[in-house]
């Protein structure tokens, strides 16, 4: 301990002697650490954003949409058929062991009026399970219940965007709004969700009981009164998503009386796959960026080794004298190692400051999400110390094993 403290004092003194040289040597590490921090911040910021998007949609979600319908040989796109029904949703939830919840959904758009204001928005006809699956919560008021669905009551839960546009700051709970001229009572307001990954405003929505929506707003499809636009399911866990998909597929084929060889009249997708791919690509990107950045850390390390070798040569006589006065191999080794590590760690800390600054600047200028975690900082300190030890060892060893007589004789 005594040795370490005095080694540090000697090292600081030596570094202070050559301020410009020490600063320039440190600069290599500063740039290396700063670029590692900044790139890791960009990478983990992107990953975090993807994770937030996943969380904003809800977890373990599987979406079932009707298949395409062909009419006189003209194939319409996915989702136009009327093959999915509320009964399908009930059976999916009841019969598939890996499915936690299944919520039917009808979708439409309408002009909404309150007092002198009006606003065009999306209308979702849902059951209460939908809120659970999508991880939506009511910030104000209450959700509607299964009784509201069964009784087709005229109640509505509003997203933040219609509230902002219709109510001008007034309390919407209990107020009557008109959707397609039908009066609805506002019972709740959803908590803000923000944008989706596709840049959609997830708050620009009004939720109605599915029954009311069909009868009063969106209208009943003539082919099948029970039809829904999609069914949103939640698997019991992330690992059970594939099993849940398989079970749902089999059940729907059976319910829709599809023969073997006949194509599905529905499609099942899960969002996890999409996001997992996005997340993987963003983390590969982050690793690549960090790898490129760490090359500059290595270059900085070589700079340290260079300067330490010069320093050892310049101070050969000092080393010889210290040896004559009783310095052991270990003492000289420690002295020079501490010097190298001091350079690299000091450079590392300055680099962290610059790296955080750079990532803040990037998120300001480019609008990218960045995030500097304690892990990245610790890693940077660890690596800069490692670079100091790694590249300082050879010069320090060279110093420690100098021949004292030759060292004393040198100029």
């Amino acid at each position: 301990m005594k040795h370490l403290i005095s080694s540090m004092r000697i090292a600081f003194r030596a570094l202070k002697m050559n301020k410009l040289r020490s600063a320039l040597t440190m600069l290599g590490i500063v740039i290396g650490v700063a670029s590692v921090i900044a790139t890791v911040a960009i990478g983990s910021g992107a990953t975090q954003r993807i994770q937030q998007q996943i969380a904003s949609i809800g977890s373990n979600i599987i979406i079932v949409t009707p298949g395409s319908m062909s009419s006189s040989g003209v194939r319409l796109g996915t989702g136009n058929a009327v093959t999915l029904s509320e009964a399908d949703a009930r059976e999916l939830e009841a019969q598939c062991p890996d499915v936690e919840l299944a919520a039917p959904l009808v979708r439409g758009g309408a002009q909404v009026v309150y007092a002198n204001n009006n606003w065009a928005t999306s209308i979702y006809g849902i059951t209460p399970e939908y809120l659970t699956i999508r991880d939506l919560s009511v910030a104000d008021g209450a959700e509607f219940t299964q009784q509201d669905v069964d009784g087709a009551t005229k109640v509505a839960v509003l997203g933040q965007t219609p509230v902002d546009n219709l109510f001008d700051g007034a309390d919407p709970i209990g107020q009557a709004i008109r959707i397609k001229n039908v009066p609805f009572t506002v019972v709740g307001v959803l908590a803000r969700k923000g944008q989706s990954s596709q840049g959609q405003d997830q708050d620009d929505v009004i939720l109605l009981p599915i029954s009311t929506a069909k009868r009063k707003v969106i209208g009943v499809k003539q082919a099948n009164a029970d039809a829904v636009d999609s069914i949103m399911m939640q698997a019991k866990s992330g690992a059970q998503i594939p099993a849940a998909q398989d079970e749902a597929g089999a059940l729907l084929r059976q319910r829709h009386h599809l023969q073997a060889g006949e194509a599905d009249d529905f499609s099942i997708r899960n969002l996890e796959e999409l996001f997992a791919a996005q997340e993987a690509s963003s983390s590969i990107m982050a690793i690549m960026l960090a790898a490129v950045a760490s090359v500059s850390l290595v270059v900085g390390g070589i700079g340290i080794m260079n300067i330490m070798l010069i320093s050892v040569r310049e101070r050969t006589r000092e080393i010889g004298l210290r040896q004559a006065l009783g310095a052991k191999t270990r003492d000289i080794l420690t002295q020079f190692l501490v010097e190298a590590v001091t350079l690299s760690i000091a450079g590392g800390f300055i680099g962290i400051v610059f790296g955080i600054g750079a990532s803040l600047l990037i998120s300001q200028l480019a609008g990218w999400a960045t995030s500097v975690g304690p892990g990245a900082v610790l890693l940077a300190v660890f690596f800069s110390a490692l670079v100091g030890i790694g590249f300082g060892y050879y010069p320090a060893r060279k110093a420690a094993f100098l021949d004292p007589i030759e060292a004393l004789r040198s100029e």
């Binding site: 005594k2 040795h3 005095s6 003194r13 030596a14 002697m17 006589r317 000092e318 004298l321 210290r322 040896q323 004559a324 006065l325 009783g326 310095a327 052991k328 191999t329 270990r330 003492d331 004292p404 007589i405 004393l408």
Partner: protein, 248 residues
């Protein structure tokens, strides 16, 4: 009591390119405790090689070296470093003070390499500086001191670990005669009042005359070994030193 330095048939050979140099060709000396020895000889006679070996800075090619009854010729680097730290004080022609450290820090440098912690190192360093007449100069850097003062700082440094023996290589070589005489005065005082053994290499007869034993070297061998019955006594500046009486 065995002699402090007991060297038997010491040989040192090294290669200078392709040429084998026999720096020491079998040297046997015994130096008793409390002696002040001057080693004289032409350059290349082997006297510096002997001093390096005595100082445990180097290992002999063959022969024995007992320092304070400890055989040191077989020790490794770190053991030798320990011996140098504990038993030997070095004084160099060019002082070898570290320019970035003040006088006190220079004096305390050997304490840094001691295995045991030294309580109150500063007090010890101040006393050592006062002993060589440099009280009040603790915070001066070497560049702010005269040559004679720098050499006295070096003497204070060599004494801080209370060594058995002082090894001086041309200690007055870089000093004028007055300062040289002052250094010799300090050597004599240390030798007489504290019983420190001193081995000094010099090529000046005048400086050698301060010692009480003079060993002559030529071609790696001892050619003369004389006792000085009446070494030069230090006199104040302006008075010519009396010639030393040398008995064969």
């Amino acid at each position: 009591m065995p002699p402090l330095i007991d060297v038997r048939n010491l040989k040192k050979t090294y290669l200078l390119g392709d040429i084998v140099v026999n720096a020491l060709q079998g040297v046997t000396i015994a130096i008793e405790r409390g002696t002040f020895v001057a080693i004289m000889g032409e350059s290349g006679s082997g006297k510096s090689t002997l001093l390096n070996l005595l100082g445990c800075l180097d290992r002999p090619t063959s022969g024995r070296y007992l320092l304070d009854s400890i055989p040191v010729e077989t020790m490794d680097r770190d053991q030798l470093a320990e011996i140098r730290n504990q038993k030997i004080g070095f004084i160099f022609q060019n002082f070898n003070l570290l320019p970035r450290m003040d006088a006190l820090e220079n004096v305390e440098l050997p304490l840094l390499y001691k295995d045991s912690e030294t309580p109150n190192g500063d007090a010890l360093g101040q006393r050592a500086l006062a002993d060589v007449g440099l009280a009040g100069r603790e915070l001066n850097f070497p560049a702010q001191l005269s040559g004679g003062q720098q050499q006295r700082v070096a003497i204070a440094r060599s004494l801080i670990n209370k060594p058995e023996i002082l090894l001086a290589d041309e200690p007055t070589g870089a000093l004028d005669s007055h300062n040289g005489a002052e250094i010799m005065n300090i050597f004599q005082r240390l030798n007489r009042t504290q019983g420190i053994t001193i081995v000094m290499v010099t090529h000046s007869d005048e400086i050698a005359a301060y010692a009480n034993r003079i060993i002559g070297f030529r071609d790696g061998l001892i050619v003369s070994d004389t006792k000085v019955t009446k070494p030069t006594a230090f006199v104040e500046a302006g008075v010519a030193p009396a010639a030393a009486a040398v008995s064969p």
